[in-house]
């Protein structure tokens, strides 16, 4: 009897990402990808968009919105490459590409959300 695989952790991330992607992505794409560019709805002004995005809750929401689906993609794409292309011998490379990509995107999301200015000065002001 072998030790149990650690795959459950990765599958858990895949599931969480799948739920986030399913519930939130259609409306995001509809608004930002179609409704605003095609003029069906008026896009928010820059100041308003920035104000909303800077809110701590919005930053957490956006972080989860970016990070979770990336891990969903990583897991699903990894298996698609295994089964679809039957390139099992590239297993490790595929694993690193997929999860490395997801981790990279998550780090980038964290950085972009952190540097949406005002958070650092706000924190610094609080320190003083």
């Amino acid at each position: 009897m072998g030790k149990r695989s650690n795959e459950p952790f990765l599958w858990g991330l895949f599931s969480a990402g799948g739920v986030v992607a399913a519930l939130l992505m259609p409306i995001h794409l509809l608004l930002f990808g179609l409704a605003f560019p095609l003029g069906w709805l008026d896009p928010p002004a820059y100041e308003r968009a920035l104000a909303v995005a800077r809110h701590p809750l919005a930053r957490i929401y956006l972080f989860v919105f970016c990070a979770a689906p990336l891990f969903h993609w990583a897991h699903r794409f990894r298996f698609t490459l295994y089964d679809g292309l039957q390139i099992k011998h590239l297993n490790d490379l595929i694993f690193v590409f997929c999860y490395g990509g997801a981790i990279g995107g998550t780090v980038l999301a964290g950085y972009l959300l952190w540097t949406l200015s005002e958070l650092l000065p706000w924190l610094l002001a609080w320190q003083i």
Partner: protein, 247 residues
Amino acid sequence: MADTITLEVARYNPESDAEPRFQSYQVPFRKDWVVLDALNYIKDKLDGSLTFRWSCRMGICGSCGMTVNGEPKLTCATFLSGCLPGPVRVEPLQNFPVVRDLVIEMSDFLVKLSQVRPWIMREREKPVWEGEYRQTPEALDAYKQYSMCINCLLCYAACPVYALDPSFAGPAAIALAQRYNLDSRDQGSEERMDILSQHDGIWACTFVGECSVVCPKNVDPAGAIQRYKVAATTEWFKSFLAPWGSR
């Protein structure tokens, strides 16, 4: 209505053929005949060398699984009238080595089945004088669907993961493991989890779902595997976050 129908049957003689080939037979068309009846007609009247497995002819033994017009089917449950106008293409079940004609080699499945311990496992067997193991109808309902499996292997024929990697445990083996995991009399889920929470156990499954579509007994092995994944993940997080627990 036509009074005959053509069957194109895959033939393979390991002693003389390098590759399987097809042979056509004209078979009487009867409204109440199934593909198995047609195959038996061929064997009785046309070509006695045709080799295939069958037994109960009523969909409970699981012997007569074959590929009919590209789909895994029980030949005793596939009516000729549903295949009109024909020809009906009959091949051995996919994803298994072909021994001869329509007979496949299924020992891979039998090995996997015995590996998942498909029997009630208890820490301590109750001696007879302590009485029977009692089970409410609700407890029976929890696993009954998975007990309907007749080991016909249609799910293995439909599963692309098994086709690509025969080391995958497969839908029926996992569904049968679940049948015992969910049985209130069984105490072996930990042991089965060790065996199946592996890379070629439940984690190789990508929920294509075809296994449940072709299952003649509505066992829903795909659902069994996904539930097993949820259970394994919950167990993993529990053991990770609360290692002082039962494990």
